[in-house]
């Protein structure tokens, strides 16, 4: 037993987090920044943060992740990090020639109170930011929120580049939230199919799923360009996918440039995708083409074909709020029963939403926001499930309790595919079902006695 010390009995813990279902803000800020074309993320703090975030993102995406660090030592921690950041900006623009540097803070620079706008102003005045280049920034103290908050804050930082000319450009902004490069690509495909011209930001497709060609470019082809970011102020509207990842940036765009916004769930599963497509249709005043309805129908078809394997199966779920909410809705919609749901984010709103979504589940449902994977494991010990959906770290629980695992969310550092195969939209829904079904039927095959080992499912 790998997690042999986890007792069945759940005792309340007030101070000790064990096996967290979240991590800290800066890694989210770094991921978001990579979704801007020509952008070099920069971590303002000591070296370890940057090294850890780059390592984690690299392990998850199996792609190069470059980022600078202010390399604080004790001196900078006492006297402030201005000198380090100004020097870092100078070095980065000279050596790596990015279009944009996206600075985010760490708990160190936040605690000493470094003022990013002031420092970047100074760097600009001192000529350390070349003409036509940009510095965007986000405050991402690690002791507030989670990696999701960090993502959201850096996307808000991008909105600072938005400009409005007073003339609408007919485009719709889509903020996809922390999803995979493949998901971002799928959102673009689906929007194009519906016939809506979108500006999506951030967009890590092309950046974190690059080809192997014998050439290395720190700044690959993909990503939302500065020009596109500037134009977001002239859009006819913004669709923010996910309250926790995307809504703040959309609202800021509304306040600053009067771009109306609508906050939707991340389009995982049938219903959330329906609402996304419908919103696109309404905002852009187009008819949804038959092709999209056909894709939808295929998903409904698979749900009906395979329903016997989903009906009333118990699931334990851990992940980020936007993802967990959409997944819970999807699971409930196919008559599966999420019975233990954990997210690392402290939020009554998340909890209330999850309670609402699972109100009709015919089993007792445990929900924690915030909770950790130690608690999730304890719940599973007391009420076993048929399936676990969570990130790589859930594999320890899955092995100890002998329960099939579907890897979903961040980080996935022991499998590939998430970079390339979307789980958003109707196509993504098909893929999610395929994976869930595969795991469940593999288990059936493994456990079946010889006399009832079936060829046909």
């Amino acid at each position: 037993m790998l997690l042999r010390h986890t007792p069945n009995e759940v005792a309340e813990r007030k101070a000790l987090t064990i096996n967290p279902a979240k991590t800290c803000q800066p890694v989210g800020a770094m991921y978001a920044a990579l979704g801007v074309h020509g952008c070099l993320p920069h971590s303002h703090g000591s070296q370890g943060c940057c090294a850890y975030h780059r390592s984690m993102l690299t392990r998850h995406y199996k792609e190069p992740v470059s980022a600078g660090t202010s390399s604080f030592t004790e001196g900078a921690s006492v006297f402030g990090g201005q000198a380090n950041l100004v020097q870092a900006l100078d070095n980065m623009f000279t050596v790596y020639e990015p279009e944009v540097v996206a600075v985010h803070t760490t708990c160190l620079s936040e605690t000493i109170g470094d003022d990013l706008p002031q420092i970047t102003d100074k760097a600009t005045k001192d000529g350390k930011v070349p003409e036509g280049k940009h510095v965007i920034y986000a405050n991402t103290p690690s002791y507030v929120g989670t990696h999701v908050t960090g993502f959201s804050n850096m996307v808000k930082g991008m909105v600072k580049l938005a400009e409005s000319t007073g003339v609408k450009n007919g485009k719709v902004n889509v903020i996809p939230g922390w999803v995979e490069p493949a998901d971002m690509e799928e959102i673009k495909r689906l929007s194009a199919l519906v016939g809506v011209d979108i500006t999506m930001f951030p967009d890590t497709s092309g950046v974190l799923n690059g080809p192997l060609s014998g050439k290395y470019s720190m700044f690959p082809e993909g990503g939302t360009t500065v020009k596109e970011l500037k134009s977001t102020g002239d859009a006819i509207g913004t669709l923010a996918l996910g309250e926790w990842c995307s809504a703040d940036a959309a609202r800021l765009l509304d306040t600053q440039h009067k771009v109306p916004c609508k906050v939707l769930d991340m389009p995982f599963g049938l219903k959330a995708t329906d609402r996304f497509v419908d919103a696109l249709r309404i905002i852009a005043g187009v008819n949804v083409p038959e092709e999209v309805s056909r894709e939808r129908g295929q998903l409904v078809d698979m749900i009906s074909d395979m329903h016997q394997y989903f009906y009333h199966k118990k699931v334990a779920l851990a992940g980020d709020p936007d993802q967990v909410i959409a997944l819970t809705e999807f699971l409930v919609s196919i008559d599966m029963c999420p019975v233990h749901i954990v997210t690392g984010t402290q939020s009554k709103k998340v909890k209330a939403r999850l309670e609402e979504l699972t109100a009709d589940v015919p089993f007792k449902v445990n929900i924690a926001a915030k909770g950790d994977m130690f608690l999730l494991h304890q719940w599973i010990k007391n009420e076993p499930v048929d399936l676990i959906i969570g990130n790589t770290y859930a594999k320890y629980i899955a092995r100890d309790e002998d329960i099939p695992l579907v890897r979903f969310g961040f980080p996935i550092i022991d499998r590939v595919g998430h970079q390339y195969f979307p789980t958003v939209g109707y196509k993504g829904g098909l893929r999610l079902l395929e994976i869930i079904l595969g795991r469940l039927l593999d288990r059936t095959d493994r456990d079946a006695p010889e006399e009832s080992f079936e060829l046909v499912y």
């Binding site: 007030k14 064990i18 070296q47 370890g48 470059s66 660090t69 050596v95 060609s213 320890y396």
Partner: protein, 546 residues
Amino acid sequence: MATAKKKLVKWEPTDIKEEMLKKYPPKVARKRAKQIMINEALENETPEITANVRTIPGIITMRGCTYAGCKGVILGPTRDIVNITHGPIGCGFYSWLTRRNQTDASGEGDENYMPYCFSTDMEDKDIIFGGEKKLAAAIQEAYDLFHPKAIAIFATCPVGLIGDDIHAVAKQMKEKFGDCNVFGFSCEGYKGVSQSAGHHIANNQIFKHVVGENDEEKPGEYRINLLGEYNIGGDGFEIDRILKLCGITNIATFSGNSTYDQFASAHKADLNCVMCHRSINYVADMLETKFGIPWIKVNFIGAESTAKSLRKIGTYFGDKSFIEKIEAVIAAEMPEIEAVVADVRTRTEGKTAMMFVGGSRAHHYQDLFSEMGMKTLSAGYEFAHRDDYEGRHVIPNLKVDADSRNIEEITVEADDTRYAPRKTEAELAALEEGGLKFKEYEGLIPDMDKGSLIIDDCNQYEAEKLVEILKPDIFCAGIKEKYSIQKLGVPMKQLHSYDSGGPYAGFKGAINFYKEIDRLTNSKVWSYMKAPWQESPELSATYVWE
């Protein structure tokens, strides 16, 4: 690419160095020039290499921080200590199982906390009002849940800034429990200039709070400690297998596959064998001063090096039957290795490597490559000090700068009751006379070819330049570097956490490594960089259907 090939012949080390420095702002270039050394060449601006100095802000470094060196590297591989990170969630999260330290906790009643990540998950209110109360409560909760032998606390950046006294909390909780050792590490990420500071802090505290706690006699005729071996990918398992075959008792490995009790009993060994000089050489010194245990430098990376290290241990203890047993083990293991080398060498002979890895790995692994007939063109350490490059004789001349001064040095004296010299002065002198060197490490420089480039704290930009210019057949560094190098069409092997492979230490490990390097350098995939239409884009024929 005819031009590139022509260039390869023409590039002189000085040109390469110049090319690497060209793009830097002048101040940065001046600093980096002192950290890039052309081995044994007179063109070097300084006679020695500059090392263990601050990383330049904004230069994309391979380094991590002090916390990573302390909690991640040194205490990470210890299975029965509850390691609580006191800080926001990130630091604990990222150091949770990510170094592939393996441990064997299969014995009955064995404790294993390695798959757990414990954190006080500090929030803004803890930063504002102080986190000591939360820390004390977290320690209490951990104690109530697990009743471990020991609880260790690791300070992260904000903890040092707000002034939480983790040591006072630890002391208070230790006294309260009575049956659980609680101690803390002031390993805030901003201390020092690299992970190295964290190793130092970790080792000092383990030495202060744990080593020597258990005076029970340990069985075994030839008792050693293995210092600086972290059981990445199972290296320590293979070394232990070999030691056991030879009849050597390993009292404690610092700290791969280790337990609290092993640290506590380390003073019962008769010889200390140092693998990674960088991370732990001072512990060997302290063990000698306090308990009288001499130390030698060993290297279990490479079959020849493994054999050599075993023979050193044999010479130290000096018993004829023991030495014969060691020779028998070597003789039994070697044929399989020779067979694999003979096969692999047909495909690896003459190939080239580069490696930029942590402490001693950039040195040790060159032995494995040379066993395969491969040459190391360039190497360097991520967090070494000058003695790792130039040898221990430079230690007295090392300047103590502001960053090093922040790292606690502990002074050790001979233990009143337990100091017992394992060999007399005369015996030690005789052994030295016979060629066994105590307290000696000559460093990386003497082992590298003339004209090779030795680079301290190599960064992403320089690594790319080196690969573009010298086109090595393999590049070794860490996960952050892996994919940018591979995009250039050069296979990259991680030597921190070994990708998915290992063990690479000892005899069986050497075989694994030869096969792995054969796979990497001879994989067909590196020939697929260009599609047929990119290889010859000219349209020269007219097709019949036109």
